[in-house]
């Protein structure tokens, strides 16, 4: 079970109170966890990554186990501690002023 922590605005958009808990079939990668998240909450399509290119939006970041995975390719395997639920997968709205 993977625990995904969403930023405030995406929790509101998805109408969830806390973390999102996802079971991933097959390899737990950056791409597959985002696929599963968007399948569970279709309203998040386009809010984290472009709907067509699947490229991460510029001011969204991905953190896990104190590592920044934002620039890693979608097939990147998530850390074992995230896959077994010991650590969360963080989707973060970047500091961008305003």
């Amino acid at each position: 079970m993977i625990h995904v922590v969403l930023p405030f605005h995406l929790r509101t958009l998805a109408r969830v109170d806390g973390d999102v808990h996802l079971e991933i079939e097959g390899p737990a990668t950056l791409g597959s966890v985002l696929d599963a998240l968007e399948a569970r909450h279709p309203v998040l399509r386009g809010a984290i990554r472009d709907q067509v290119t699947l490229i991460r939006r510029p001011f969204v970041r991905f953190y896990a186990c104190e590592e920044d995975l934002s620039h890693e390719p979608p097939q990147t395997q998530l850390p074992a501690a995230v896959v077994n639920g010991a650590e969360p997968f963080l989707i973060v709205g970047a500091m961008a002023g305003g």
């Binding site: 930023p7 605005h9 386009g46 809010a47 709907q51 001011f59 305003g98």
Partner: protein, 371 residues
């Protein structure tokens, strides 16, 4: 008794202001979508409790919302805006060609007869249409064939910000794009042609009479006279009597002919309103006096409307989509400011009353007159 519902889009959420037909006691509801930029909300004339909203964020992109109960509850609808085919390119700041990239929806225009049909004006400029209440969007790509390769973004972005559906000829649509101009279709969006003859932009364009490239800020129409359009351009207030075939200037005695919104009285097709702004470099009212100007002669002769508006130290702006009228008698006129005030005049502009003082910067104002 009739009611009015004012839909206010702001930099940090949407607000819904309601009153009965006397327009004296207002209820303020919101923020909806708190923290998000709400570029525009608009209700369906065919089904007034159906509202469409454009919700955007620099972080999380475009979300589209629909309400079927007048804004009490909302449902996210499709936010997938795909340019038709290979998107192609338009002019870029450095003179090169740049691919079309979707950024946000600026304006929503529901069909006056079918609540499931709604048009959406995008940045980068394109027109999208939904016929299923917003579950899917299709581009009307013929528009970008109208010299789209020559369009170039202005400082505010290359946005399609105005959509006017001709109430007498359903196959005719006018749209306006910043730094590109006005375009018209007479076949429901299949083909388009520029409608900018008579516009002059000597300070912005190398050819002041160019067919495209004029920075049109807003156009407005009275539904009883659909061949007459009024325009607030970057500089100049203009009108056409022949559906955009030719335009002539009607700035007359305005203290400045720079501004953003322009609106037509609900019952008097030759009564129009603008809010002059000092200049393209200083987006605030001349002399720090917030004045709406009204012409009862379709332009050229203007009178300042000031009663109830701040007449000193006022440096707000009124953006292009932030003025609207109701259809009650007498006609109510409404506008929102970048300082977060929404002003209302219950008597066609003679007097003004702030409905709210302290909202976030107002991006758009629409009014629904309800039974």
């Amino acid at each position: 008794m009739s009611r009015v519902r004012v839909l206010v889009g702001t930099k940090k959420g949407a607000f819904i202001l309601t009153a009965d037909g006397r327009r004296e006691q207002w209820e303020v509801n919101g923020p909806h979508f708190g923290g998000w930029e709400i570029y525009h909300l608009k209700g369906s004339a065919a089904q007034p409790d159906r509202l469409y909203a454009s919700q955007t964020s620099g972080w999380f992109g475009q979300v589209m919302q629909r309400s079927d109960d007048g804004g009490k509850t909302w449902e996210a609808i499709s936010n997938e805006f795909k340019y038709d085919g290979v998107p192609g390119t338009h002019q870029w700041y450095d003179g090169t060609q740049h691919p079309w990239e979707f950024k946000r929806i600026w304006h929503l225009e529901p069909s006056p007869t079918d609540p499931d049909i709604v048009y959406a004006g995008a940045e980068d400029a394109a027109l999208f249409k939904a016929v299923d209440g917003g579950r899917t969007w299709q581009e009307l790509p013929g528009l970008r064939s109208a010299k789209g390769h020559l369009w170039q973004p202005g400082a505010g972005g290359m946005c399609l910000h105005t959509i006017i559906l001709d109430p007498k000829r359903p196959e005719r649509i006018f749209i306006a794009i910043s730094a590109a101009g006005v375009f018209r279709t007479d076949d429901t969006g299949k083909t388009w042609k520029p409608a900018n003859r008579g516009l002059k932009s000597p300070y912005e364009l190398p050819d002041p009479d160019a067919e495209v490239g004029h920075c049109v800020h807003r156009i407005a129409m009275h539904p009883s006279h659909p061949d007459v359009l009024f325009m607030q351009k970057h500089w100049d207030v203009m009108r056409t009597n022949d559906a955009g075939e030719s335009w002539s200037e009607v700035s007359g005695n305005l203290p400045s002919d720079f501004g953003f919104p322009i609106e037509v009285h609900a019952h008097e097709p030759e009564t129009i309103y603008v809010v002059p702004i000092k200049s393209d470099s200083e987006h605030f009212p001349p002399e720090g006096k917030l004045r709406v100007y009204r012409s009862r002669t379709g332009g050229n002769e203007w009178e300042a409307l000031t009663r109830g508006l701040p007449q000193k130290d006022c440096y707000v702006n009124v953006l292009r989509d932030a003025m609207a009228v109701d259809s009650l008698e007498p006609c109510g006129v409404y506008f929102g400011t970048t300082g977060g005030q929404v002003y209302m005049s219950p008597d066609s502009g003679e007097t003004w009353i702030p409905i709210v003082h302290d909202l976030p910067a107002v991006l758009s104002v629409e009014v629904q007159s309800l039974p």
